[in-house]
Symmetry: C2
Subunit: 183 residues, 2 copies
Amino acid sequence: MAVDRSHVLTAAAALLARRPTSSMDEIARAAGIGRATLHRHFAGRDALIRALEQLGIEQLTHALDAARLDEGAAPDALRRLVAEAEPVAGVLAFLFTENQLFEGEGINEGWTRLDARIHALFRRGQEEGDFRIDLGAAWLTEAFYGLIGAGAWAVHDGRVARNDLTHSIAELLLGGARRSMEK
Amino acid sequence: MAVDRSHVLTAAAALLARRPTSSMDEIARAAGIGRATLHRHFAGRDALIRALEQLGIEQLTHALDAARLDEGAAPDALRRLVAEAEPVAGVLAFLFTENQLFEGEGINEGWTRLDARIHALFRRGQEEGDFRIDLGAAWLTEAFYGLIGAGAWAVHDGRVARNDLTHSIAELLLGGARRSMEK
DNA sequence: CCTGAATGAGACAATTGCGTCTCACTCGAT
DNA sequence: ATCGAGTGAGACGCAATTGTCTCATTCAGG
């Protein structure tokens, strides 16, 4: 009977990512609940978006923890990160594309912290000689988000198999499209 | 005096990409014109989105033509494509993320054609041994769009220098983050 | 079998945005 | 200087959405 808050938010993210102008009613239907119930759990559209942001921060934080970014070689850590972040891709894709959140009040501090951790991973990889230095760590961080998002949509639209997603994202991010000669 | 249609659409794309719920008034202001004038040129919000889609198709088509995807090695062709597509990144980023366009009526045929051409480029690269085959051409196509979009936003938000954008996108797409041993 | 919390459906007013119109103004061309 | 097309500002009614409320129903636990 009790509504699964996380499930509602996930459904909302999936819908809003592809149709940001969806009404509260459409969001409720997508989550399989009534509009009244949706309003009981989230005061309004704004509150829903905030909750979505909060969920994304929590889940990505958890993914970062689970990936143990400081351990082992940077490329392996990145692979773990992609694997851990993939289930959260839907929510992340929405949050990455919709910056409407950040108006007036500055960017949520939580994001700054998460960005910094991912940024640090790429920087470590560069310092240890595993990652190239002609691509800035900031750009690699952005590219990470972009590929996570693109992957989530590609799976959602049936253009990429879910099973391949983690490998596709991680390998493209690490090795690119070009066929490598060595190894 | 005459309103620059292309300029209005570009401004609209830039705004809508980051704030899809923007009102017609906000869009008009962002383009530096009045709401009445906006309505004179585009019958309504739908017409505006359609025009945006049409502009994106035209510009990307032009970019694909200019990049001469069939000539030379696939990696070089991809580099040319990124260079040609980069100025259109803002519009593409919006269209890539907002699939609200395609409801009821199928996906615009123009996109199918463009997708096919990019897809063919990656396939050619794979067949000629320049691109790895463990990543599907469909995924590489999606990744191309995703990185173009991520790049556009990163530049817009000041996280990446515009001058580096083409290089950053093309090199990441081609070679990934990992430092290559050979070469 | 009760009881109560939670839900879905619907009604309701208030708000918001949309599309159209009018009117005064600006600017370029004649 | 005059004319006319194009524009911005604002008003207006209309449709859609929002947020709140009520009420009947459902379901879990005692």
